[in-house]
Symmetry: C2
Subunit: 140 residues, 2 copies
DNA sequence: TTAGTATATTCCTTTTTTTGCATATTGCAA
DNA sequence: TTGCAATATGCAAAAAAAGGAATATACTAA
């Protein structure tokens, strides 16, 4: 039997890192979160409303994505905003989608009530103007 | 709070299928198998030798890839040959590798002894000629 | 300080994967 | 048929992930 010298195509460490990346993506909710982040950063309550999931659960899934280095977070007052940290992720998701979803499935519509500042600019604005008004009324 | 009509970016079914694809790829051994299949089909004993893993274990991992529709198999005599069924997979793996492995890691060399017919053409040939010789010696 | 909103984490149970081991199957030749 | 080589499958224990529930933290406003 022939004994051959063989240069490995890939070392174990790389394969393990790659597997870790796929592991972070192997969950439907995490994929949907990344899809929602496609258009830019979103706060947790927005994801919660749009996916119709409990807050703690969304936070757990975000923690998995964060620990895998796939998303980054930023605090703004009471809200946390998450965004995609690796733009190549979107290519990866696009490629995966073409592989599993050949037929253009029709996307469902549904109603959401999201409490986040971005979804409620008027409400936020109203609060801000009321605050300003009150401040003006105060004696210096 | 505003109530908005929202067209889902992705239906649950698609996300689930995508997750299933990533699930099949979330294992280092399966990734290494796919890398070995990059150059074309290989038999099980070849993978076994090149990855230095037990036969039953390689077969199990191949079964996962097969059930996910990522590889196809073909029987040729006593050997089973596997090949990549979805060429887009290679793109996916390439993209994933660039994401996790920025520094060009040096690939290790190692010696393998593979018993498969392709790795031992001379041995196979020798057997074949011996068979032919024996047949000639037989009285019709 | 207290209360309320937004978010994160910890603990625990259930389910799914992993992995080793034994065994079954298949194809071929004697 | 028997025996052997190559491959596949079934089973069980260990490890990991999923998901629910309670709780902790952070910030803001009163």
């Amino acid at each position: 039997m022939q004994k051959k010298e063989y240069t490995k195509l890939m070392d174990n460490a790389t394969a393990t890192h790659q597997a870790r990346l796929f592991k972070a993506l192997m969950h439907p909710v995490r994929i949907q979160i990344l899809e929602l982040l496609r258009g830019g950063e979103q706060c947790v309550c927005h994801l919660e409303a749009y996916l119709d999931l409990r807050q703690a659960y969304v936070s757990q899934q975000l923690a998995v994505l964060r620990k895998a280095g796939l998303v980054s977070d930023r605090r703004d007052g009471p809200n946390s905003y998450y965004q995609i940290a690796r733009p190549e992720l979107l290519q990866l998701l696009d490629l995966a989608r073409t592989m599993v979803c050949p037929e253009g499935s029709t996307l469902a519509k549904h109603r959401v009530t999201c409490p986040c500042p971005r979804c409620n600019p008027s409400r936020d604005e109203a609060i801000q103007t009321r605050i300003l008004k009150l401040k003006e009324e105060l004696p210096c």
